[in-house]
């Protein structure tokens, strides 16, 4: 037996080398490069020139960095707080065996077929102050017709569009997980006379805790990608009311061509992103997830 195992062929590191080299160049090296670039001035065309701590000294005095960070965090919290309860509720609802639920959830999934750009452009047209819905409802409700141009409403509009875009995906995660919950648990609870609400809180929610954590991690890490929606919907406006930090970085880098300074903002972004992920992992115990799941 031992002689057999020693003769077993095993692939060497060479098999993983192409993937490692490729990912190293385009995935990992850029993190080091962006840190380096943050100490330079670069207009994106010539060569980066050493600038010492200049960019890092400018950073604290840039009001848009502070406000951008605040708007980013606000957006992350608001999207999490709106998407998680709804995705959990609809996902568990859609997991039921009734035919009507299967049909309705198929419709719920339709936004998944549209790209971020497509969704942002549909909503922009639909929220158009002259030809869109607000022009009609402002007569009824007295709310501003220019939703995307109103500093108080624009961020909420973005939160809603992100909800519309991402709810189906998270609902899908919850639905798949809720279908895996052993029927015997509900059976037992029912025999004990638990009400549906009790069964939801005592069985469905605890059984879905890994999914809640995983979905939350994805939302929080993914909140960095809301950049595209914001760029297309409001461009960070009105004024700078919705200019999240990734958008500020993009505009500094590719609009003002201050690539060195934009790199400093990018480093800040990496730090914030990593910090958020670590926080979620620490708070939720995500790292022990696989081992717990194997036990179920």
């Amino acid at each position: 037996m031992t002689s057999a195992t020693t003769r077993v062929q095993r692939p060497g590191a060479l098999w993983a080398a192409p993937a490692l080299i490729f990912f190293g160049i385009f995935g990992l090296a850029p993190i080091a490069i962006v840190a380096g670039l943050s100490f330079t001035t670069w207009d994106g065309l010539g060569n980066p020139e050493w600038a010492g701590l200049h960019n890092w000294r400018t950073l604290p005095s840039d009001k848009l960095v502070g406000s951008g960070l605040m708007i980013t965090l606000t957006l992350t919290v608001l999207t999490w707080a709106t998407q998680t309860p709804l995705a959990l509720a609809f996902g568990a609802w859609a997991a039921g065996p009734q035919r009507i639920r299967a049909v309705v959830s198929t419709i719920f999934f339709l936004p998944l077929l549209l790209s971020t750009a497509a969704i942002a452009l549909i909503w922009q047209a639909l929220l158009d102050p002259t030809f869109g819905l607000p022009a009609q409802w402002s007569e009824l409700t007295g709310l501003s017709a220019n939703v995307l141009g109103d500093p108080d409403l624009a961020l909420w509009a973005i939160v809603f569009v992100l909800l519309w875009q991402f709810l189906p995906f998270h609902m899908l995660l919850y639905q798949a997980a809720a279908k895996q919950i052993p029927a015997s648990l509900y059976e037992a609870a029912e025999i004990d006379g638990a009400s549906p609400l009790q069964r939801f809180w005592r069985i469905t929610v605890p059984q879905l805790r890994h999914t809640i954590i995983a979905s939350s991690v994805l939302m929080i890490v993914g909140s960095m990608t809301y950049f595209e929606t914001v760029l297309l919907l409001t461009g960070g406006g009105p004024g700078t009311a919705t200019r999240i930090l990734p958008l500020h970085m993009y505009l500094k880098g590719f609009s003002a061509f201050e690539m060195g300074y934009a790199s400093a903002i990018a480093v800040l972004l990496v730090a914030v992103g990593t910090g958020l992920s670590l926080l979620v992992v620490r708070v939720s115990g995500y790292s022990q997830m696989t081992s717990e799941r194997e036990g179920v």
Partner: protein, 304 residues
């Protein structure tokens, strides 16, 4: 809170011993009394259904309107006459070119990812090498790197490689950022293969390459399908990399094309909506013919 209760009474209780069935039906009768919250979930679902359907109706109805009709009628009114004029304009702006470019980027990224991720997954599952183990950890860390934050160094790399404004420039980073999830998916699908199969093959004198070709490839098929869809959708929807790494009409991909349409022909909303509908058709076809695979591709990386 009432919207949350999802399971109406009794639907899970299928197999109950006869001795318990009396008690069960009593519980059923009892729970029927308190099952009202399920209606709450139903009402919530109905509201969300309206919120999903209205924009989709707007999208399709607007794409079928004449330009004049759009300006005069309300956004949700039924089009006075149905015309494909907007679709014709979408094609005139260059929809076919954008479509071709998006397809090239998607297939390029898929092939590149599979070509490097499959051997890597094989090595991660079977190798004893420390380099491979450390490499796997690096890929896991890579899951958390936001593409936004490294877009400037990627722009630097691409311009230095003289690839700026080419489709290759989009394919390379798109594939690289899809790699961590792809490797996780492929690795977990290969972990299900019993190691005795590998050992039996190598005892029969098979080389690593033969094992890879005759065992790993066939057995990782479901993982390959998931990865293909995941990478393809990522590439199809990607906005940031093409935005920063391309500029000319020849390299424009669909999402950028839509934006371009909006900034250049801002008033032609029917034309824009027609382009949006057209851009969604390939994914819709995928949804109709392979719903399971599409959804697993979407949920990739999360495990099941």
């Amino acid at each position: 809170m009432s919207t949350i209760t999802a399971r109406p009474a009794g639907e899970q209780a299928e197999s109950v011993t006869p001795a318990r069935s009396a008690k069960r039906s009593a519980a059923r009768a009892g729970s029927r009394r308190v099952s009202r919250p399920a209606y709450g979930a139903g009402i919530g679902a109905a509201i969300w259904l309206v919120l999903v359907v209205v924009p989709l109706y707007f999208l399709i109805a607007t794409s079928l309107r004449g330009s004049g009709d759009y300006l005069s009628a309300g956004p949700l009114s039924i089009p006075e006459e149905i015309t494909l004029d907007a679709y014709r304009r979408a094609f005139e702006v260059g929809f076919l070119k954008f479509l071709t470019n998006s397809l090239i980027v998607a297939f390029g990224a898929i092939i590149l990812v599979l070509a490097v991720a499959l051997p890597a997954a094989f090595a991660i599952v079977r190798s004893k090498s420390r380099v491979v183990r450390i490499g796997f950890t690096l890929f896991l860390l890579g899951l958390a790197v936001p593409a936004q934050a490294v877009i400037i160094p990627i722009y630097l790399l691409i311009t230095r490689l003289h690839l700026y404004d080419s489709l290759t420039a989009v394919i390379l980073p798109t594939a690289a950022f899809a790699l961590p999830v792809s490797i996780v998916v492929l690795t977990s699908s290969l972990r299900d293969v019993p190691s005795s199969l590998y050992e039996a093959m190598s005892l029969d004198g098979a080389s690593n390459f033969q094992i890879f070709w005759n065992l790993v490839l066939p057995l990782s098929r479901s993982g390959v399908v998931t990865v293909t869809i995941f990478v393809g959708l990522n590439a199809w929807n990607n906005f940031l990399f093409p935005l920063v790494l391309t500029q000319s009409m020849d390299t424009r991909v669909l999402p950028l094309g839509l934006w371009e349409f909006q900034t250049q022909y801002g008033t032609d909303v029917p034309g824009l909506m027609a382009a949006v509908v057209l851009s969604a058709l390939p994914v819709l076809a995928l949804y109709l013919f392979g719903r399971r695979q599409l959804l697993s591709g979407l949920a990739a990386g999360i495990g099941k």
